[in-house]
C-alpha cells in the first residue's frame, strides 16, 4: 500500500511536466546527451560527490571506502535511470541499500541529503558544460530536473518505507515477546507485565490470559506489574477488567509488584482497587496463591 504512494509523491515534486516520464523526441535526445556526459565524467563527478558528502558530514556511520562503493552504485543506477527512464531497478536498489544501512544508524536526512548532493553536483557540471549556450542549458535542465527529482523521491521513499517496515517488525516482535502466560504450578499461572500498557496491548494480554486459564484450568493467576513504569486511570481500568474477566472464568487473581509511585498515583487519582487482591512482591503473591490452592512448601534440609 505504501509502495503505491511514491508515484503520487513523485508527481507532486516533479510537477505536471513528466508523467509517466514520457520522452518526446527532443527530450530523449537531450537525455542521451546528458547520459553521455555523465558517463564520460564518471570518475570526476563521483569523486566530487563523495568529497561533498564527507564535507557535509553525512553518512558518518560508514567508512570512506564504503561511502565510495555505495556512491559508485548509486551513481551508476542514477545514470541508468536517466538512460532507461525505468525506476524499478533503482527502487530495488534503494530498498536494498536501506536494508544494509538502517541497522548502522543512518538517518533519513542523510540519505535524502546525499541524493540531493548528487543532484547538485551533476547540475553544476551541466552548468559548467553548457554555460556558453544558455538555451541548450535550459532545455537540458528541463529534461534533467524532473528525472532527478523523481530519483531523489524514489530513494527517499524507499528508505522511509524500509524504515517503517523495520519498525513494524520490531513492534510485532515486542508485542509477541511481551505477554507470556506462564504456569508455575498445577492450576497457577503467572502473567508478568513489562512495559507500557495501551488499550490494544491490554486487550491482547487479557485474551491471552483468558485462553491460558482455560487451557491450563487455572484457579489462581498472579499478575506481576513490577515492570510497569507508570499507571494512570485508563491502565488501572484495564487491569481491573483483566481481573474481572478472569474471575468470570472462575480464576481468582493476585496483583503483585505495585511500586510506591504507582500506589501513590492510584490513590491520588482515586482509582479503587479495593476489589483486587494485591500483594507486595511476586514471591508473596506466589506464596498466597499456593495457600489458596492448598499447597504447602516445606524445606527438607538447609541448603548448602
Amino acid at each position: 500500500m505504501l509502495r503505491k504512494n511514491d508515484g503520487a509523491l513523485g508527481t507532486t515534486s516533479q510537477g505536471p511536466v513528466v508523467e509517466p516520464f514520457t520522452r518526446s523526441e527532443p527530450t530523449s535526445l537531450l537525455l542521451r546527451e546528458l547520459v553521455g556526459h555523465l558517463r564520460q565524467n564518471r570518475t570526476q563527478l563521483r569523486e566530487d560527490w563523495v568529497s561533498r558528502i564527507t564535507e557535509a558530514q553525512l553518512l558518518t556511520a560508514m567508512t570512506k571506502e564504503e561511502i565510495f562503493a555505495e556512491a559508485t552504485s548509486v551513481y551508476d543506477s542514477y545514470v541508468e535511470v536517466l538512460q532507461t527512464g525505468t525506476f524499478e531497478a533503482l527502487q530495488t536498489y534503494a530498498r536494498n541499500l536501506s536494508e544494509r544501512i538502517i541497522p548502522r544508524g543512518v538517518e533519513t536526512n542523510e540519505v535524502v541529503g546525499i541524493v540531493l548532493l548528487l543532484r547538485d553536483v551533476l547540475a553544476r557540471s551541466l552548468f559548467a558544460k553548457y554555460q556558453a549556450d544558455f538555451e541548450k542549458l535550459d532545455r537540458i535542465l528541463d529534461a534533467y530536473e524532473p528525472a532527478a527529482n523523481r530519483i531523489a523521491n524514489t530513494v527517499a521513499v524507499g528508505f522511509v518505507q524500509e524504515r517503517e517496515r523495520v519498525i513494524r517488525q520490531q513492534q510485532e516482535a515486542i508485542r509477541e515477546l511481551s505477554t507470556p502466560v506462564l504456569q508455575v504450578r498445577e492450576r497457577l499461572l503467572i502473567l508478568p507485565i513489562i512495559g507500557v500498557i495501551d488499550p490494544q496491548r491490554a486487550r491482547q494480554l487479557t485474551e491471552q490470559l483468558l485462553r491460558g486459564i482455560r487451557t491450563n484450568r487455572a484457579k489462581v493467576v498472579v499478575i506481576d506489574i513490577t515492570g510497569v513504569a507508570a499507571m494512570d486511570a485508563t491502565v488501572a481500568n484495564h487491569l481491573v477488567q483483566t481481573v474481572e474477566a478472569s474471575r468470570l472464568l472462575g480464576a481468582s487473581s493476585i496483583v503483585t509488584g505495585l511500586s510506591p509511585e504507582i500506589a501513590q498515583t492510584l490513590v491520588n487519582i482515586g482509582v479503587d482497587l479495593g476489589k483486587m487482591n494485591t500483594v507486595g512482591d511476586l514471591q508473596g503473591g506466589i506464596e498466597q496463591a499456593e495457600r489458596l490452592l492448598g499447597y504447602k512448601v516445606v524445606q527438607l534440609a538447609e541448603a548448602n
Binding site: K219, A245, L249
Partner: protein, 121 residues
C-alpha cells in the same frame, strides 16, 4: 424454548442451550427458583458454555437468579463462560458481582461440594 433443569444429587444443573429470548429467561428464572426448594437442592449450577453472547439483560437476570436462589437457601455457581464472552462482558461493565463463577461443570460441582461441606461442618 425451555431450559432443562436436571437434578444431580443435592444439586441442580441447568444447561442454557442457546441464546434465549428475554421472555424465555424470565420464565426460566421463575421455574428455577420454584424448583430449587421443591427439590430440596443445596446448590445450582448454571452452565452457559454454549452461549457466545451474554447481553446486559441476560447477565443481569443471571445475577438476579443467583441472588434469589441465595434467599431460597441455596448456592449458585455460573460455569462455562467463554473467554471471548468474559472479555466482552467486562468491556460492557457486566461483572456479575457477588456471583460465584467456575471454569466448567466439573469445577462448579467441586465448588458446590466444598461449600456444602464447609456449611455442614
Amino acid at each position: 424454548m425451555e431450559v432443562p433443569i436436571l437434578k444431580q444429587g443435592s444439586f441442580l444443573i441447568a444447561t442454557v442451550q442457546a441464546a434465549l429470548s428475554d421472555a424465555d429467561l424470565l420464565q426460566f428464572r421463575s421455574a428455577l427458583i420454584q424448583y430449587v426448594v421443591r427439590s430440596r437442592s443445596q446448590g445450582v449450577i448454571l452452565d452457559v458454555t454454549d452461549l457466545d453472547v451474554l447481553d446486559s439483560f441476560a447477565s443481569r437476570t443471571i445475577r438476579e437468579i443467583s441472588l434469589m436462589i441465595r434467599l431460597r437457601g441455596a448456592e449458585t455457581v455460573i460455569v462455562g463462560i467463554q473467554p471471548e464472552v468474559a472479555f466482552a462482558m467486562v468491556q460492557l461493565g457486566l461483572t456479575m458481582e457477588g456471583v460465584a463463577t467456575a471454569l466448567d461443570l466439573d469445577e462448579g460441582l467441586q465448588y458446590l461440594n466444598h461449600r456444602s461441606k464447609t456449611a455442614t461442618s
